[in-house]
Amino acid sequence: MTESLLSTTNISLVYDDGARVTHALRDVTIEIPNKRFVGIMGPSGSGKSSLLYILSGLKRPTGGDVRLGDYGYKAHSDLDLIDLRRQRFGFVFQQPYLLVWQTAMENVLMGAPILDAAARKKAVGYFEQLGIGAMAEKLPSQLSGGEKQRVCVARAMMNDPDIIFADEPTASLDHANGHLVVDLLSAYRKHGTVVVVTHDPEMLQGADSVLLMRDGQSLGWRDPVDVLGTAGPSKTVAL
């Protein structure tokens, strides 16, 4: 891989509750290039979600460091990392959490760095492209699970992030909606990098590469074809 955007150096994550020491991550050193759709896969407890939280600044490693370009996480405060997440990252989680009393549009606008007419126009564009144009003024309670997750994807894109982190974004969705959400994320690679953690290999069919994890260790990058046993990109949506 070239043109590294995000990199880790010997990161480790150790939980010590006094009675037991657990190594969630061990000396993971990886590089993630710009404008790629990459997956992180592994069995349950392999450390893939922990890696994503550390890459996105949601969690501090107990050893090693993460760098976004020249920006080393270790040298910055928690508040700095909050700003980093808001300004340069987008997030899609397993559960489509939205503020229940705000409309879908208002929820999406929460991801905008500045609330102005341009942000609203941009949000309207995303709603149309994500196929939920008619849902913009509805409350989350009026949306299906798939529609909510697409609202979350739109929210994640509002700040034009360098990287979108998606943690099991399809786990709570049915097959069709799961594919739709992954296709939307996959299409974002034209603008930035997408890092998807999933246990479902089928969702990474269109990935550029897949990082395999086991027992908190990186097994290295693999071609999706080798990992998944199937070829060809999934359908993409132009963004």
Binding site: L58, F93, L99
Partner: protein, 369 residues
Amino acid sequence: MPLAFVIVLSVFLIASVVTIVNSIDLTVLTIYNYTKVFTPVLPRLAAAVPGEEVIRVPANIQAQIRKTSGVDRTIETSGFFFNINTVFGPFPFVCFGVTDENRDYLLKRAGDSLLPGGRMPDPGKPEAVISEGLARNKKVKIGDVIASPLDTGTLVAAPAPIKLVGILRGSTWMAFTSKKYTDASLPLVPHSLLVTTADPAAQGRVGDQLYDTLDKFQVQVLSFNNLVKTLRTSLASMYLIMHLVNGTVIFVVALMAGMLSNIYFTQRISEFAVLAAIGLRRSTLVWHAVSETAILTTLGWLLGVFVNYSVLTLMKGSVFEPRGMLINPSDPLSYLNTLPIPVCITLFAVATISYRLANLDPVTIIERR
């Protein structure tokens, strides 16, 4: 939605309890409201003049009253009492015997008028007119007997069964018969004075002034402010209980509503945690919680006020007034007492969100699948 419902019920509970408990005070104010129209001055036994059968307000005191600045008329009267229903049981209410001219003058001051279908009492006959509030209270209509010599508990019972011939429209409770009747049938009853002021707005002030300046051994002055003060003093324990009930209900309900909002926002902490994860600062999230709570509590409060007003208005005529409980569904004080509800809920919401976010690792929420 459940929180909004809790707010509606809380506002309804507090406002209705305060309104009903305040029925005692409202009864007192209503019964003595006529002393805002005129100030009765009653002679005491010490004012009796040897050789004269009737006790009157002494001449020197009458002169002192007439010299008092602002006084318009001093109307000599006597009367009998009849019982009305109150929250604290049967209570005597006075029916004054006055001339037709003075009666019309007093009614004009009070802004009262005769309702269609009735008439004023004929001079010398055992007849009376009473205000519509009194008629509702006693559940009487034109033609009914409103007072009888057999009435017990009154100060001076009616000399004969008194027939209701007219009902007065107006908020001030008053009852009148003819002076010719009371003079003829109650010759030994002390004669009082009803003192009025030229400016009706000055009645309270002049009443207080008469109370302060007239010889208390010879006359008793029923000024509105002093009557209310005296009655409130004599019912001090009841008022204390009333305020304790109000205070306890407000405190408990407001606290419970606040704690329910704590549970509500605790259940929704995942939404806020995820927003914190994507980079929203704590202050922004607290602001969102405050604005959400403000909208919710405002709507809930308005709905609660509407529900309370509607229910109490419906029950006022059918349930409360026939039992002598006077209530005011639009009493601003009762709604003022509900303000701790939105305040408590907002404070608890802000405290909950602030505390939870300060002590919460968003990842623990995101990982909770």
